[in-house]
């Protein structure tokens, strides 16, 4: 999956954005449900940290295009 919104057609790029946001929404819902269900602090904090890390990775890679720092994909 490319991270460049300039690559491929606009529709394909927009679809990619939808997929990423759907994953983020699902992870957020899971966080909420697990936090409501789990009473134990250490497993809860561990899970929340992992989920937030996964969401942060998706945002930096697919939305913030961090790879362009070393790949320089776009001209403008």
């Amino acid at each position: 999956m490319t991270t460049n919104p300039g690559k491929g057609g606009e529709a394909a790029t927009q679809r990619r954005g939808l997929i990423v946001i759907a994953v983020l929404a699902v992870l957020t819902a899971v966080e909420y449900v697990i936090a409501a269900a789990l009473d134990s602090t250490v497993p809860l904090v561990t899970f929340l940290a992992l989920a937030a890390g996964a969401k942060a990775w998706a945002i930096t890679v697919y939305f913030m295009h961090i790879s362009r720092l070393w790949r320089g994909e776009e001209a403008h």
Binding site: P5, L44, I59, A75
Partner: protein, 194 residues
Amino acid sequence: MAAAAVSHDAHGGSEAHAWERVRVNRLGLWLFLMSDAALFAIFAAARFYIAGTERDPHLNQALGLGITVLLLLSSLTAFRAEAAFAHGNAAHGRAMLLATIVIGLLFAGGVAFEWATAEFDASEGYGTAFFSMTGMHAFHVLTGVLFLGVIWMRAGRGEFPAGAATWPVTATVIYWHFVDLVWVFFYPTLYLVQ
């Protein structure tokens, strides 16, 4: 023929110069974001230092989840705006920028409502963390909205036509995603950890 070759070289040179400038700008933006992230990390660490893993039982969980969903949604509209400008679709890009601005303002309104109705105050440990973290984040949301508004107006003047440089749009959108990224950590830190 020679003149055409010189012109071609000059064009190529200016392209390379523009590309190099964007590269430096991008690096500068990321350095700024990393220093800003350090500030937010200190706020998050302070929350656990001051209040441990406790959270106030009177927190409005529905509102917290609602504004989180709003901010996620704004990331999608910002992404769509950037993609539209990159593909020369300025009209759609402007519409998506406006949607991002509106959602950002709704998020800020939600935070303001939470502040106004909170059943805890800043003198308590958790309250200190809550108000300082959400306050600092909301300030970034408002500055992001301001930047988006500037880009929206510039796009309205036709400054980003098809094939033109879209770095100002990209930089603003990256900043907006950063604001969302911070909330990805702040939401569980403030609302879910216990």
